[in-house]
Amino acid sequence: MTQAHLTRRRFATILGGAFLLSISVLLLAPLVGPIELSLPTALSDGSSLDAEILLRARLPRVLFAALVGGALAVSGVVFQAILRNPLASPFTLGVSGGGSLGAVLAILLGWEVSFHGISFLPLASLAGATTVVLIVYSLSKTQRHFSPLTLLLSGVVLNYICAALILLVHYFSNFTKSFMMMRWMMGALDVYDFGVVMTLLPFILIGLALLLRYSRYLNVLSAGEDWAASRGVQVERLVTLQYFGASLLTGSVVAYCGPIGFVGLIVPHILRLLLGADHRILLPTAFLMGGTFLVICDTIARTVLAPTEIPVGIFTSILGGPFFLWLLLHRRKELFFGG
């Protein structure tokens, strides 16, 4: 099996293709739904029901799903690279555990209501995620030698602690609250205006810029710490930067839609199978394809049993899992088991 190296042309072709694919999905997805939509009516008459559905219900939701999926996939690529572990996901180091703990605490205390358009639930989730990120980072800094491995150890432990505390919160909640918590933990993309999209956008742009800028260095880092250091990379600085960048993406996304699983694990995997491991192309493509993947899953989740919506996280696994297995069996046998 052979692998082409990155050239300007390859970069432009792949990114262009991914861009076209995601644009087409983004344009088509809002037209799909339980209610038939007439695009001409929606566009010509701003006060029509069609326009209302398109602009208030579907378009924000599709854009939201695209941002969330993109952020999770990019974050997954980065966590897998810095931990040098293809089984890592955005949720491995406890960011989502902390975010979820913050959210279920907010529900327990009855803070899920919003005042003047500001909802406390995402803020509580962000606070939880930030706390965990800082604890994991300072724990690994106390080690003699700061490395991705120490991040992994403290992150996994914190993740378990958060999971235990979430169960404890459940235990002390009544049935209604416990049900709300469970639904939140399943993840949901139901937004009804552009407000959430606009709030999330700056977080994602900052995180993305931070990660993309160092994608070349991520290549040598993903090959090993010594490998990177002997090629002139300041490993500790780079790991710290990537850790906080990827945590920012994951934490902000989880705050608004709960921990939607599988996107951040499977999309990086699939893209690595198709494109190789060069992070310069992997990161931007993961953003586009992660978003596209989640938009497709969400479109199915909200239509297949309409008007009932199935939590999108169920579909990311049901669709992504078999597709991944199929790719694995057809394309990469020799990479996992040979050599």
């Binding site: 692998q3 190296h5 090959a223 002139g232 310069r280």
Partner: protein
């Protein structure tokens, strides 16, 4: 003897309570092949990692080309010094060429794509190590020997003036061992490369090196230079360093045995 490359002055290193290196004093010269030999756990790899800037928790004074290692910019250092580990384990699907191109990183400041020059140097490094035919194959699919050759090509793509090698052939078959030392020998002559090599293979060290530093329990116990193409190796020295019995035959070869 060339000008000083590394000046090691009272360098010590400890891992928690374990003293790995103790008050090392030594000057390593330009243009030579310096071998660091000694038994397992003597501190050889630790010393090499300190010289390569990979391990920073040491005490004492250490300078590279007259400047303290503590002030060297990591990227500028990597433009001059390359490091080849015992083996390179990579999880992700990079091609051999991508691995070699990574060696160009210290020479590019912030550029997103490699330049034509980088591709040319990578190609040349692949040729030097006889890996041209492996270029588009996945690194993970290659045999241990091929991986080590590609790793060497990546180090050479840094166009280093100094190459640090940590038992580079420990896991390789005889043919790959000889091939790697042949390449290194040629390069050392052509490019005036300085080599610092960690090994516990005395035969190899004797043939290949200009100078041997014997480490035992973190201390430098002997420093030998090649004269008239041989080292003044004695039975007692080998016995002292490796803790084995060594008897010299008339032919000059040592008969080594464990215990008496």
């Amino acid at each position: 003897m060339g000008s000083p490359l590394f000046t090691i002055n009272q360098v010590s290193c400890r891992f928690d309570d374990l003293r790995v290196l103790q008050n090392l004093d030594c000057v390593i010269s330009e243009g030579e092949v310096t071998g660091i030999v000694g038994p397992n756990g003597a501190g050889k790899t630790t010393l090499l990692r300190i010289l390569g800037g990979l391990l920073k928790s040491w005490e004492g004074e250490l300078s590279f080309r007259e400047n303290s290692m503590r002030v060297w910019d990591q990227r500028l250092f990597a433009q001059q010094v390359a490091y080849l580990p015992q083996r390179t384990q990579i999880t992700f699907p990079y091609s051999a060429r991508e691995i070699v191109l990574m060696g160009r990183l210290p020479h590019q400041s912030g550029a997103f794509f490699e330049r034509a020059e980088d591709h040319a140097i990578a190609e040349e490094s692949l040729e030097l190590t006889g890996c041209t035919h492996l270029a588009e194959r996945y690194f993970t699919e290659l045999s241990g020997g091929e991986q080590q050759l590609v790793g060497l090509a990546s180090a050479l793509a840094q166009l280093p003036q100094v190459l640090l090698l940590d038992e580079p052939t420990a896991f390789l078959d005889l043919r790959h061992q000889l091939q790697i030392y042949r390449i290194l020998r040629d390069l050392q002559k052509e490019r005036a490369l300085s080599l610092i090599l960690v090994t516990h293979d005395l035969n190899l060290a004797e043939n290949f090196c200009d100078r041997l530093l014997f480490l035992k329990d973190g201390k430098l116990v002997e420093d030998l230079r090649k004269e008239n193409n041989t080292f003044a190796l004695t039975g007692p020295l080998i016995e002292k360093v490796f803790g084995i019995t060594a008897q010299k035959e008339a032919s000059g070869r040592f008969i080594l045995s464990y215990g008496n």
